[in-house]
Symmetry: C2
Subunit: 404 residues, 2 copies
Amino acid sequence: MTSRLEPFSFARRIPSTPSIGSSTVTKPDHIHLSFGFAAPHLFPIEQLSASAADAVTQHGRKALQYSGAPGPGKILQWIQERSLVHGIRADLNQILVTYGSTQGIDLATRILVDPGDHVWVESPSFFSALQSFRAAEAVVTSFPIDEDGVRVDLIENALVEAKRDGRPIPKLLYTMPTYHNPGGVTLSIERRKRLVQLAEAYNFFILEDDAYSELNFTGNQYPPLYTLFPERVIYLNTFSKIIGPGLRLGWVIADQQVIQKVRLLNLGGSIGVFTQEILAQLIDNFAFQNHVDALSAHYRKQRDVMAEALREHFGEHVSFHLPEGGFYIWLRFADHVNTSEWVQDAASRGVSFVEGKSFFADPEGYHYARLCFSYVSEEQIVRGVKLLADSYFSYIGREAVRSS
Amino acid sequence: MTSRLEPFSFARRIPSTPSIGSSTVTKPDHIHLSFGFAAPHLFPIEQLSASAADAVTQHGRKALQYSGAPGPGKILQWIQERSLVHGIRADLNQILVTYGSTQGIDLATRILVDPGDHVWVESPSFFSALQSFRAAEAVVTSFPIDEDGVRVDLIENALVEAKRDGRPIPKLLYTMPTYHNPGGVTLSIERRKRLVQLAEAYNFFILEDDAYSELNFTGNQYPPLYTLFPERVIYLNTFSKIIGPGLRLGWVIADQQVIQKVRLLNLGGSIGVFTQEILAQLIDNFAFQNHVDALSAHYRKQRDVMAEALREHFGEHVSFHLPEGGFYIWLRFADHVNTSEWVQDAASRGVSFVEGKSFFADPEGYHYARLCFSYVSEEQIVRGVKLLADSYFSYIGREAVRSS
């Protein structure tokens, strides 16, 4: 219609860079140490197939209506009961089903954060969460993690200083305390207690992302932050790691006041009730504890294979924390190593990983890399780590030449 | 943990009132003239049941992975081909699948609108859209509709005056040009042409909500605004009215630049690919044109039954436009009638409708009511309209007594 279209100024809130999920290019024949995906062969396909047919046959018309059949109610009850295993007591009206925990992060951010408000995060942190905070025009400040999770002492210092200097207290602190993505670390019980004390003393919300908590390799139990301070912790979890990410179903547990506000934003009401009907049929007749036990045993073995391969092929060139659960090993290289400089070379050798910088709000983290042991086979882990080492040593060889 | 919790100031952007979808209370035995839902008995349940089983059996593991199996790709192609029927030519990278068109509205708003920006809407308008604009902290201005859709002449005057006086031009104009919810009217071809000329001259985006366009009772064709100005129209549609709302799948068609920006906000990447696999199986083997022809014939009959019942029971007490498609008849009562004052009485008699005021950004529209003829049976329509008339005449009888 027109050849001279005027430029249009889009909203400032749009992040300028895509989150990693939409930018990583990989090929089908790669060994995907980059994919933070569950192992497909552990999906409960047979049960799900039967459940899908049952759900449609028994509740088809209602399942296709906005409000669904009994499914959404059954799922809430399942979440309520399963949460008790982790020490979380919640009324049904404190639970809200979301499109994966990513939507939970986005909704929580939108109810808490106005443009210019402060959000504190861990460094490294989950890239989709960082993207939500950018989209909310939050000012993001990062706090490092160590072997025991985020450095709560540094958070405390920053709060003390902010209050003393009249600078803003965060509205929200986002943390993944258990089996951190990508760090693989778990927040100690002592730090958990201190963190919620700080949330109370300084009146901010904690957004607790517990996506990996069912994948427990050690039997050690850590209380969810929510159980320590339900009034100011918004708890997020998801079926993505335990049933299948394609369902895109997660949940939020929070104070009723918070849930009411999220409902106001959760435009259009019901989350895909059709999928909920199918999932409800599945969990109704499903030995869930056996399933997660099997998942945990499998992933623990994968973790051990990866850790051994890393020690064998990288020796002293990397350090990492052996995760107590979850999907990831977070590699630390020497400070002068820049993983972004050889990620393409690694890809050309047939192995993918995620560059450290993707997990930081600020330009940093170049000497880290995230490997995921969940999606690939043991054989691929061994071969992938070998290829990765080839790429790395080729890179530092070139580095050595360059600096000589 | 605490008995003296400090108050917390949530984000300003949270709307203070719920959208109608979450606040209307109805009972199962009511005649639901309030529900803007598709008729459940017209859902393609048998085909969907087979598709669900096939999708899981054939593609189960991949369907449960983030990216899915062939489903998401097939759906994009189906949308592309079906859009051609309506004159819309779009490349695959101009199409984005969303969680219903409500998410499409929300995403489009978030990429276009900063707090304080202006959004122009029709009065009446779709309540979930109004909720999105409030959540984006937009300044909302309304323009009335008549029999030929929104009053584009008034929009033009307002643009001329705004430019002359140095006041803001809208970033976005939201319209449902075809089979308007709740107004039932359709924007004339002449007005369509003028509206896109204005969008070009004043450089704003049109958000075109085309949710009902397949439900065509007359055979009359109206070009989607998108076809007239693809650079500045964001087109939304949904499977909710034609397959089933429980799927919560819709789509956006827009300029590639717009789609890229939406992708940046569409946090967490893939929309529930599991549901997409099932839907893809369905539409692969589905006589879609026959299906929408049957839907349209059925809803046209329902509309006629409702219109006749309204004339019989209300006579000169209401006026309405006979819709050429869609789900709704929009009743106008005398100016002194306030439908909010007898909606409860109607409920107590067993019939629900939606009060006019729910569809307006400002406090107005009290003498309107929305009736939906899609969800209920013919017998229920006849009985429901009779009960509604009983309630209304009881109300105006009391009014007459009150004013005498």
